[in-house]
Amino acid sequence: MNVITNNSILCTVALAALQNVVDPELGLNVVDLGLIYQVDFDDPGKTIYLTMTLTTRFCPMGESLAAAVTRALQSTFPHDDVSVLLTFDPPWDHTRISAEGKMFLNK
């Protein structure tokens, strides 16, 4: 798990919220799956900018995962706007899965 941020304290709170967003196929949350690339915070009460990816381009669950991420952040930071950017540069690969995620998948 290697997430870029400009505010490590708020980022920890955000990532904790995002651990509730689970990839339905794998049952693993998007943080441990390594889908979250960057979480930046504007001034409090303004906008959270999140950059994330999907395991595959045009993943059938892509739309709902991005929407779920937005909702999870909005419920934790109700006064902030949330802007989610989907990127495939760099593309996701298995090396982004956290140690906990790998243990979960190896069960």
Partner: protein
């Protein structure tokens, strides 16, 4: 980035599920007809329910859902997708009814025309989706080529329907059935299964393995086999069975591809749906083996109608059915999950797609299907009517379990507790 709407895809699944049940019931009612020559009204009807109503409809439906993943772009038109469903759904019963009563008048002709129009809509949709995505990759090429072979198959089928009454071809329609059937099996089903499977298996396994070069070889070998088959069938009849060689090599390479993807998987656990799908890869070799025997390696084997029946049975009720039984419960739960839970994910705990269907029914379906398949094949090869009756009952039970689970899925609603 847009998902194909569930209202576009789900009707294909429902239609296919009902077709499968109807086909198994007809099979169970066929009795002694199963021990005779395959060219009989009832068996032609069952074959076309399995090939069109079951195999093709579900593949058309899932293709509309999976095409965006394969081509990394949006589906060109939802309306064309709905049109292809309406046309094919109207045409298939007409065609099947015509075969059942063995009358090649207007039901067969209009059925054939409607099915062809439905397939043409699909081909146009696939071609335009690929053109617009501008992301040509080997999987997209597989799907497009398969769709073209399907159109060739249904077009030949329509010509044969007209030729039954008008006799404008140099030979009667029966002589061209092998051409019609193999273009559909190899050109449509096999190419599509390889093209889609080579993308989905690594995706579901979370596998690091990719090998486009190997897939290009498989693509070239299958198409070489097909083109050689057509040329030899028309010009050098008798030698056309040699075309099985490049296709058999392609199958071995595809098994190697699947094995490598399986070995390189990150997710260790393999669920029941994937096990059934992987089993289908092995089941491809049963009809190939039977074909080799029919081709004369065993003296006098071609005189046994049971072998020819077994060849068709292992393709439609074996290979094609096993992959659909597995993959339905890998793809349909996601479509339903997206429909029901998309707006709630991230806010409340949602079930996983695999929780939306009954695992007990799935196990019941898998067991009755596998036992029924083995016993039915044994019954065909030994012309044992009692065994055929018992095993076809098991296949009906498998189709019932499948239908119950499909309807449980598509009728799923969110629990508000």
């Amino acid at each position: 980035m847009k998902n194909t709407l569930h209202t576009v895809v789900i009707p294909f699944y429902i239609y296919a599920a009902i077709s499968f049940l109807v086909a198994t019931i007809l099979l169970a009612c066929s009795g002694t007809a199963l021990t005779q020559h395959y060219f009989q009204p009832r068996l032609l009807a069952i074959t076309h329910i399995m090939a069109l109503g079951w195999g093709t409809m579900i593949i058309l439906g899932s293709s509309h859902q999976l095409l965006p993943v394969l081509i990394e772009g949006n589906l060109y038109s939802r309306k064309l997708a709905q049109l292809s469903f309406i046309l094919a759904a109207a045409g298939i019963p007409l065609l099947v009814y015509a075969f059942f009563i063995f009358d090649f008048g207007w039901p067969a002709r209009w059925g054939g025309i409607l099915v062809n129009a439905g397939v043409l809509s699909f081909v146009v949709n696939v071609a335009n989706s690929i053109r617009k995505s501008q992301q040509e990759n080997i999987h997209a090429i597989f799907v497009f080529t398969a769709a073209c072979w399907l159109l060739a198959t249904t077009a030949i089928g329509l010509v044969l329907v007209y030729n039954f009454q008008d006799n404008f071809l140099p030979k009667d329609s029966l002589a061209f059935l092998s051409l019609h059937m193999h273009l559909g099996i190899i050109g449509w089903f096999l190419l599509l299964v390889v093209g889609v499977g080579s993308r989905l298996l690594p995706m579901f396994f979370i596998s690091k393995y990719t090998n486009s070069r190997l897939l290009w070889w498989i693509y070239a070998l299958i198409n070489t086999g097909l083109v050689a088959f057509v040329i030899m069938f028309l010009k050098f009849h008798g030698m056309h069975r040699l075309a099985v060689l490049p296709v058999a090599v392609a199958l071995i390479l595809f098994v190697r591809y699947c094995y490598c993807a399986y070995q390189a998987r990150i997710r260790r656990q393999v669920d029941g749906q994937m096990k059934l799908s992987v089993l289908s890869v092995v089941m491809i070799f049963i009809p190939v083996l039977i074909l080799v025997v029919i081709s004369g390696l065993t003296a006098g084997a071609s005189d046994r109608p049971g072998l020819e029946m077994a060849y068709g049975f292992t393709i439609f009720f074996g290979w094609i059915t096993s992959i659909i039984l597995g993959m339905t419960f890998k793809t349909l739960p996601f479509i339903v999950w997206n429909k029901v839970y998309e707006e709630h994910a991230g806010l409340v705990k949602t079930p996983q797609p695999a929780d939306l269907f009954s695992s007990r029914l799935f196990k019941g379906m898998s067991v009755t299907y596998l036992v029924g398949f083995v016993l039915f094949l044994t019954g065909l090869l030994n012309s044992q009517v009692v065994l055929l009756n018992i095993s076809s009952g098991l296949l009906v039970a498998a189709a019932l379990c499948y239908n119950l689970n499909v309807f449980k899925l598509v009728l799923h609603e969110r629990d508000h507790k």
